[in-house]
Symmetry: C2
Subunit: 161 residues, 2 copies
């Protein structure tokens, strides 16, 4: 088995989109930055999101019947930092940054996102220390012309033109 430092170096090399996953409404809104989001199935249209089982993100999101996955555009590094906790803001205070509304589920939807996927929980598994959520996409908003923010090599990156 490889050691944890080697594993972290490997995972850091893998490019991934940067998302803010949200749930709740009003003063109970919660949002966290996550890069482990992927396409899951087209029948029904669904995505898979995972979190460490003992993380604050998992505690907030694992019991929610709905959530929204907001993929950030290249210019939104600042928002990624806020929802990753790097500015010290917690809970609903994070939503003072960015402009938020809602689609079908009522979960917070970032108006400026490259893409928002509004989801109902379809399946949930606990696998090897991770909480894995599968969300059926019930509504979406997308700007196909924009370029997404990428996290790779331990820093924010953009795609070449």
């Amino acid at each position: 088995m490889i050691n944890r430092d080697a594993f972290r170096s490997c995972m850091a090399l893998m490019p991934a989109a940067v998302h803010i996953v949200t749930t709740g409404s009003g003063l109970e809104r919660i949002g966290v930055t996550a890069s482990s989001v992927a396409s899951f199935s087209d029948d029904p249209p669904s995505v898979i999101v995972s979190f460490a089982e003992n993380s604050a993100s998992a505690a907030a999101l694992k019991d929610s019947p709905t959530f929204c996955v907001n993929m950030l555009r290249a210019e939104e590094e600042g928002l990624a930092d806020v929802f990753a906790g790097r500015t010290g803001l917690r809970g609903v205070d994070r939503f003072a940054h960015g402009h938020w509304d809602a689609l079908d589920t009522g979960c917070p939807t970032l108006q400026s996102a490259a893409m928002s996927l509004d989801c109902e929980l379809l399946d949930r598994k606990f696998l090897a220390g991770r909480v894995v959520l599968v969300g059926k996409i019930v509504a979406h908003r997308i700007d196909e012309a924009c370029s997404p923010l990428v996290y790779q090599g331990r820093s924010y990156r953009r795609l070449a033109a």
Copy 2:
């Protein structure tokens, strides 16, 4: 629920690394291009790979106790096409392209890859029409200086310098 065309447009916008997932040895070698590979857990170091349950990839890989995930570098679009079946090659014939060796499990490892993660199957689930494999990484090879190939917007992309 959103329709399948809308879903495909959404997933196409999400940037992802491009991998060749391999198994077997000698004349029984099998390899397929996959972009649904992600970090899973650091305890034990593991990755998650998924395939449509009724695909040829799933048939070849779901019963294998070991597999190797080879992340391609920016210059390797041609290899991605070969292992996605776009050149018409099947089975072991695909391995005439690229230089291959093996690490611990014996599964084919691409010498030029940005990263190779040699895995033992840790867990397998059937979720919403997908086969989900969790692989414990038992050996690895990495070139941290290289830039990975990205698939986004229905085409191969590179990261900006």
